[in-house]
C-alpha cells in the first residue's frame, strides 16, 4: 500500500509548484491583451506615446513571462516524475491536450514573444502589431488546452476503462474537447487573468499619478486599464456563476461543500451567507440564510433540488459497494484475460470501479473489507467543508470588491477627473494584490474541491502517485522551495525596480528617471 506521507508530500509539492506557477500566468494572459490594445491605438493614431506604453508595459510583461515559462516546465515534468500511475492511467486522454497545447499554442506564443521584443526596428508597424496579436492568441489558446485537460479531470467524458491495457482510453475526442466543464473553466480563468492584467496597469499608473510624474503616460494607461478591467471583472463574475451551474457530479459535490449544504433542502434551496460548519456532526452550528437564492443560482429554476452532502455520501456508499465487485473482477481478469464469469461481473460494475479503488487507501486485500472501512471511504468522497466554504467566499468577496473599484475607475475615467481623485488612486494602488489572491483561492476551490480524486470518480489521488521514497520527496520539495524563493526575490526585485523607474527605463528621453546605459 502507498504510504500516506508519500501521497501528502506529492500533493504538497504539486500544489506548491502549481500555485507558484499561477502567480505568473494570469498576469501574462491579461497583460498580453492590454499590449494589443495599446499597440493598436499606436498603429491607428501614430502617436509615439502609445508605442512607449506598449514597450514599457511589455518590459514588465517580459519579466513576468520569464518566470511563467520557468515554472511551467515543472508542471509538465511533474506528471511523469511524481504522478507516474496517473500518467499511465489517463495519459491516453490527458496527454493529448497537453501535446496539442505545445503544437498549436505555445510554439506560437513563444516564437512571437521573441519578435515582440526584438522586432521593433525590423518589422513594419502593422507586422509588429500582428506579432503582438498572434502572441496574445497563442497565450489564450494555451490556456484553452490546459483547461481542457483540467476540465477532463473534473468531468471525465469521452473515455472508457480497458482491463487489457489497465487504463482509461479515449473513445470520443470531441466530447473531451467540448466538455462543458472545460469551456466554463476556460472563460472564467482567462477572464480572471484579464482582471489581473488590468489591475496591474491600473495600480501602477495610479502610483505614477499620485507621485505626479509621467502624468500623460499614466493617464492613458489608467483609462485603458479601467475599461478593460471593468469588462473583465463583469465577465469573471457572470461566467464564474456559470461554472457553478455546470452539471456533473464533481461540480455537485464541490457545490455542496463550498455552500456547506449538509441536507438536501426543498427547492428552491436557501443560500448560506455565513455559516460555521461542523464536520463531525454534518451540520452547521450557525448560519445566516437567504431564502431561494441557492436554488436559483444552482439550478436556474424554482423546482429542482440540489443534493446535500449527506445524500451525496449515501449515494457514493452504494457506488463503493458496487465498486468492490469491479475491483475483485478486475484482479481476476488481470491474471486471466479470458475469464468469462469475471468479465461479466466486471462489465456490470465497471462504472463504479473508481469508487471501489477508494478502498485501497485502507486495505490491499479486499477480503478484509468491513462496513467501518466502507464508511471511512464514503466520508472521504466529499472534501472538508470549512476550507471550501471560506475560500469560496473570499474569492467572491474579492471579485465584488474589484467590481466596485473598476466601476468607479471607469466612471471617473469617462468623466475625465480621475487624476484628481486621490482617494481613488490610493484605493487602486492598495488593491494590487487582490486579483492574485482571488486567483490562488479560486485554484484551491477547484482542485481541493475535487478531492479525493485526481480524476473524478475514476482514479483516487492516493493511487496516482509515483512509487518514490519519502526521502526523495523531502529532497525535491526542499529544492523547489529553495529555487523558487530565490527566483521570486530576483523577479520582485526587477519588477519593483522597473516599475519605480517607469517609462524612463526605455531610454527615449521623453520621461522622468531616464535610464543611462
Amino acid at each position: 500500500m502507498v504510504s500516506e506521507q508519500l501521497v501528502d508530500l506529492s500533493r504538497l509539492q504539486f500544489a506548491a509548484t502549481a500555485l507558484y506557477h499561477f502567480l505568473f500566468v494570469p498576469l501574462t494572459i491579461g497583460m498580453v491583451w492590454m499590449l494589443v490594445i495599446m499597440e493598436s491605438v499606436y498603429v491607428m493614431t501614430g502617436k509615439p506615446l502609445y508605442k512607449d506604453m506598449t514597450r514599457f508595459w511589455g518590459k514588465l510583461f517580459g519579466i513576468n513571462f520569464a518566470l511563467g515559462v520557468t515554472t511551467g516546465i515543472t508542471l509538465e515534468f511533474q506528471f511523469g516524475t511524481n504522478w507516474a500511475y496517473y500518467s499511465h492511467y489517463v495519459g491516453d486522454i490527458f496527454g493529448a491536450p497537453l501535446a496539442i497545447e505545445g503544437l498549436m499554442a505555445f510554439f506560437l506564443e513563444s516564437t512571437m514573444i521573441g519578435l515582440f521584443f526584438f522586432g521593433w526596428d525590423r518589422l513594419s508597424r502593422k507586422q509588429h502589431l500582428m506579432v503582438t496579436l498572434l502572441m496574445a492568441v497563442g497565450t489564450n489558446l494555451s490556456a484553452l488546452w490546459i483547461l481542457i485537460a483540467n476540465g477532463w479531470m473534473q468531468n471525465p467524458v469521452g473515455a472508457e476503462f480497458s482491463y487489457v491495457t489497465m487504463r482509461m482510453e479515449m473513445t470520443d475526442f470531441w466530447a473531451v474537447l467540448f466538455n462543458p466543464d472545460a469551456q466554463a473553466k476556460f472563460v472564467h480563468t482567462v477572464s480572471a487573468g484579464y482582471v489581473t492584467g488590468a489591475m496591474f496597469v491600473l495600480s501602477i499608473s495610479s502610483w505614477y499619478l499620485l507621485k505626479g510624474r509621467d502624468v500623460e503616460f499614466a493617464k492613458r494607461s489608467f483609462g485603458i486599464a479601467a475599461a478593460f478591467g471593468f469588462a473583465s471583472v463583469c465577465s469573471v463574475i457572470v461566467l464564474g456563476d456559470e461554472s457553478g451551474y455546470t452539471v456533473g457530479e464533481a461540480q455537485q459535490t464541490k457545490l455542496a461543500a463550498m455552500e456547506a449544504m449538509w441536507e438536501t433542502e426543498p427547492a428552491p434551496a436557501p443560500f448560506n451567507l455565513i455559516a460555521i460548519p461542523n464536520e463531525a456532526e454534518m451540520k452547521n452550528d450557525f448560519a445566516i440564510e437567504i431564502p431561494w437564492v441557492m436554488g436559483i443560482i444552482g439550478t436556474r429554476s424554482l423546482d429542482k433540488q440540489i443534493p446535500g452532502i449527506r445524500d451525496i455520501k449515501l449515494k457514493n456508499r452504494e457506488r463503493i459497494v458496487s465498486g468492490i465487485e469491479a475491483v475483485k473482477a478486475l484482479d481476476v481478469l488481470r491474471r486471466n484475460r479470458d475469464d468469462a464469469a469475471a468479465k461479466k461481473v466486471f462489465e456490470e460494475h465497471k462504472a463504479d470501479l473508481g469508487f471501489g479503488l477508494l478502498l485501497k487507501k485502507y486495505v490491499s486485500d479486499f477480503s478484509q473489507i468491513t462496513p467501518a472501512i466502507i464508511d471511512k471511504a464514503m466520508h472521504d468522497t466529499v472534501p472538508r467543508v470549512a476550507p471550501m466554504f471560506w475560500s469560496f467566499r473570499l474569492m467572491v468577496a474579492l471579485g465584488f470588491a474589484m467590481l466596485a473599484l473598476f466601476s468607479l475607475a471607469l466612471w471617473h475615467s469617462v468623466k475625465g477627473d480621475f487624476a484628481d481623485k486621490r482617494w481613488l488612486l490610493r484605493w487602486a494602488l492598495l488593491s494590487l494584490p487582490m486579483p492574485w489572491l482571488a486567483c490562488e483561492v479560486g485554484w484551491f476551490v477547484a482542485e481541493y474541491g475535487r478531492q479525493p480524486w485526481t480524476i473524478y470518480g475514476v482514479l483516487p489521488t492516493h493511487l496516482s502517485v509515483s512509487t518514490l521514497s519519502v526521502e526523495s520527496l523531502y529532497g525535491s520539495l526542499a529544492g523547489f522551495v529553495g529555487f523558487y524563493t530565490v527566483l521570486l526575490v530576483v523577479e520582485m526585485f526587477l519588477m519593483v525596480k522597473f516599475a519605480r523607474q517607469g517609462p524612463g527605463s526605455l531610454g527615449t528621453g521623453r520621461y522622468a528617471n531616464e535610464a543611462h546605459a
Binding site: G80, H88, S110, T111, G114, R122, R334, K497
Partner: protein, 379 residues
Amino acid sequence: MLDYETLKLIWWLLVGVLLVGFAIMDGHDMGVGTLLPFVGKNDLERRVVINTVGPHWDGNQVWFITGGGAIFAAWPLVYATAFSGFYWAMLAVLWALFFRPVGFDYRSKINNPTWRGVWDWGLFVGGAVPPLIFGVAFGNLFQGVPFSFDDHLVSTYSGTFWALLNPFALLAGVVSTAMITFHGAIYLAHRTAGEIQWRALRAAGFFGGLLLLAFAGAGLWLWMAVPGYVIQSVVDGAAQPDPLAKTVIREAGAWFANYRRYPATLALPVLVFAGVLAAQVLARTGRTMAAFWASALAIVGVIGTAGAALFPFIMPSSLDPNASLTVWDSVSSRLTLSIMLWATLIFMPIIILYTSWAYRVMGGKVTAAYVRENSHSAY
C-alpha cells in the same frame, strides 16, 4: 484511420523527429549557452553571443516541451516509467533549465559585473547539463533500466541516481554534449564575425573531433561489451498494448541485429561522420549556413543510430526483461495516436513556417554595434 501497427511505427518515427527537432533547434541555443563564458571574453562580447539566440531561444525551448507532451500522449507508459524512475536526473534537467529564461531575460537588465557573471554561468549550466543528462539517460537505455511492474502496471524503480552515472552512460553523455556544443559553435560562427567567430570555429574544431571520437568509442564499446535485448515471443503489432505479454532475453550483440538485417541503416552512423566533417569544412570556407545544416544532419545521424539500434525497444528492463517497454506495447490507443498524428501533420508545417520567418526577420550577423545601439531592448 490508419491501422494500429502502422500508427505505432509512425509514432516511433515522429518521436524521433521531435527529438531531432529539439536537438537541432533548442540544441543550438544550448550549445551557445555552454560556450558563452569561453567565447565571450568581456560583457560586450557576451551580449553579442547571447543576442544571436535572444529572439529565438524561447520558441526553441517549446521543442522540448512539445516533445515531452508528445511522449506523454503517445507513449504514456514510457513517460510515466522514465520520468519517475530517473527522478533525480529529471529534476537536475529541470533545475538546470530554470537558469535559461531568467538568465536570458534578466541578465542585461542590471549593469553589475557580479550579477551578469552569475547569469553567464547560469546559462552555461542551462546549456550543458540537459544534453549531458539526456546522453546519460540514453546510455542507460542500452544497458537496461531496473524497473518492474505489478499486476496493475504500477511501476517500481529499484536503482539509484548514482548507478545511472556508470562509465558507458557517461561516454554517451559526452557524445550528446559534444554534439550539442558542436552544433552551437557552428551556429555561433554563422551569426557572429571577427574574434568571436574565430573562437567559435576553434570550439567547433574541438567539439566536432570529440563527438566523432566519443561516438566511435561508444559504438565499439556497445559492440564489445553491452548485451542487447531481443523479443522471443511472436509480436502482434495490432494487439492492444500490454507490456507484460511477451518474453524477452538478453543477448550479446543484439543491438546490432537491425544493422545486420537492414544494412541500409548503416547510412545513419556514416551520416554522423559525413555531417561533422562537411560542417567543419563549410564553416571554415565561409558557408556557415550550409555548415549549420550539415551539423543538423550529423544530429539526425547520432539520434537515428541510437534509435535504429534499440528498435523496437524504447526502455528495456534489466530487472524483468519481459516487462521492457517497446514501440508495440507501451503506446496510446489507436484513436489517440491517430488524433495526435493529425495534430502534428497540421501544426508542424505551420510552426516551421513562422519559425523560419522569425529567423529571417532577425537574420544577419550580430555585432557589438548592434548591442550598443539597442542597449535598452537587447539582452
